[in-house]
Symmetry: C2
Amino acid sequence: MSDIKEVAKRANVSPSTVSRVIGGKIPVAVETKNRVLAAIAELNYRPNIIAQGLKGISTKTIGLVIPNVRSLVFPAAIRGIEDIAKKNGYVVVLCNTDEDFEQEKFYIETLRSRLVDGFIFSTARAGAQNIMELETEGFPAVLLLRQLEDCVNAVVLDNFNSAYQAVKYLISRGLRSIGLINGPLELTLYEERFAGYKKAMAEAGLALPEQAIVHGIEGGEDAYLATKDILKTGVKVDAFFATNDPKALGAMRAVKDYGLDVPNDISIMGFDNLDFAPLLDPPLTTVAQPFYEMGAKACQRLISIIEEKKNEKPQIDILAAKVIVRGSVI
Amino acid sequence: MSDIKEVAKRANVSPSTVSRVIGGKIPVAVETKNRVLAAIAELNYRPNIIAQGLKGISTKTIGLVIPNVRSLVFPAAIRGIEDIAKKNGYVVVLCNTDEDFEQEKFYIETLRSRLVDGFIFSTARAGAQNIMELETEGFPAVLLLRQLEDCVNAVVLDNFNSAYQAVKYLISRGLRSIGLINGPLELTLYEERFAGYKKAMAEAGLALPEQAIVHGIEGGEDAYLATKDILKTGVKVDAFFATNDPKALGAMRAVKDYGLDVPNDISIMGFDNLDFAPLLDPPLTTVAQPFYEMGAKACQRLISIIEEKKNEKPQIDILAAKVIVRGSVI
DNA sequence: CTGAAAGCGCTTACAG
DNA sequence: CTGAAAGCGCTTACAG
């Protein structure tokens, strides 16, 4: 790899001048500029990002902190992030924390000391000290999918309305006793989905089937067990609203295991529209989150923050979801 | 963030000495060392990786180049990679290429100039010029899942034997006319799976049902269409061996659409054991690839190459898969 | 065992 | 518009 000196020599200018044409901010005589450009091309020169970074220039890399790549909600968002990053010459470092604050801290500490220009976090939850500190110190960061008070930049889903729409749809299909398989309420998003569900039920004058409502469910397996328990109870339920697709899947299996038919005996509504949703049997009716767009938007925002440096007011983007009708609701 | 000078001042030594205790290679008087360590702790000092990188030291980051995070085979491998990376103080940059050589080139060029100490590639295929160049230049790189001649470091699956075992299992279940839904033969791994299939058939004295064998199938949708075409043909098939789970899923849907039952009319055998496999209806019998282990192993290898710098002989690790019996085979 | 100096590849005031 | 010099935060011969 050739360095800036070689380019300078070949173009017969000083390294300073080469640096100026690369930077593009400081005027350079057009004739000199062309000579430099030619030299750069001939030597296939690329500035050493590390050296630039040392000078306080950005390293053009952003840190993406998520709980786990294996969780199906992230890959699509990651694509959105990476596509935008690449378009702007950035590169992304992937960090899995397994919901562990210590690991999160580890990543923040090792990366912020210059390896990274900013962060995107999908790990926000009550008690996220590390993220808050970063934010108060003014280090560029945006939250994705998971929110944390209104004081930082974020792009999230309109969880309340999405859930509300989903349940309204269920009700419009004549379903009355609608159970809820929900995630941990310590995540704002599950609280909001719960609220949306309650609103739709209340509006329709429907009582909440308390015995068929559970929170704190983590994955498909958990949902499977919880749904079975509910069924054993003997409560009459017409439908289950599962607040994410893996939970819907678990619920569906439980219903089938119980000898009941989906959707003829019990309807199932999911949330997320993961890739596997259309492939299930029956194909899952669910709420589609615009993962790719959200990732792209978060990345775009981060990059503006990094590059403009104007401390623009923190802002929360709230995107809308959409119910996707397939075969799991009657 | 404090720098090395502050630490030096506080410990009453020169920056060189601080650097030495950090490096740990060069002897430092135990008493001085303790003073330095104390200062580091008090100031919560962390060496600036970028500055270290400038000096030719590694940046402790590795580039992971894959076709697409959204493809279900990668997330598990990524976790393996990242876990090992983290354990060794490395961080990973994620690069999606969409199977496009230009994008691959872009990433290699922007990252190798110091941002990255080495690469893991899962994008190898015929004509992978960029990877070959890197390899001949001696830049640390290891291939994962997809292979490229025997001349570079790689960790891959024993595709031949895995397919062989899968088909043998099918045959052991009394199935005779076994169709094949295969991927593009330009990928070594599909060629090998095809070979394994043929060997098992030949050993059992079974003729290949030519009309029920297709190659070049990319995803579930493709597989769905291809399987339908085969069925329309009227050939009698007892089972389909799909060389990855998404293809199996497509085949399964086609069989069901055709009014046939899985597995009673036609059995389906997949390959990969993706997370959704056990959740299908019926749960998919398939071949489990040890994705996590392969990722971990590839990362471990890369790090040894980076750190030891002994040009150890390139080596190919070939891991075994295992057939997982579930409900889609009679 | 330890310090002063040079240098990694760049950028950016400072002169001109 | 352009060059020489200083400096970003480290490491590593070179002396001692």
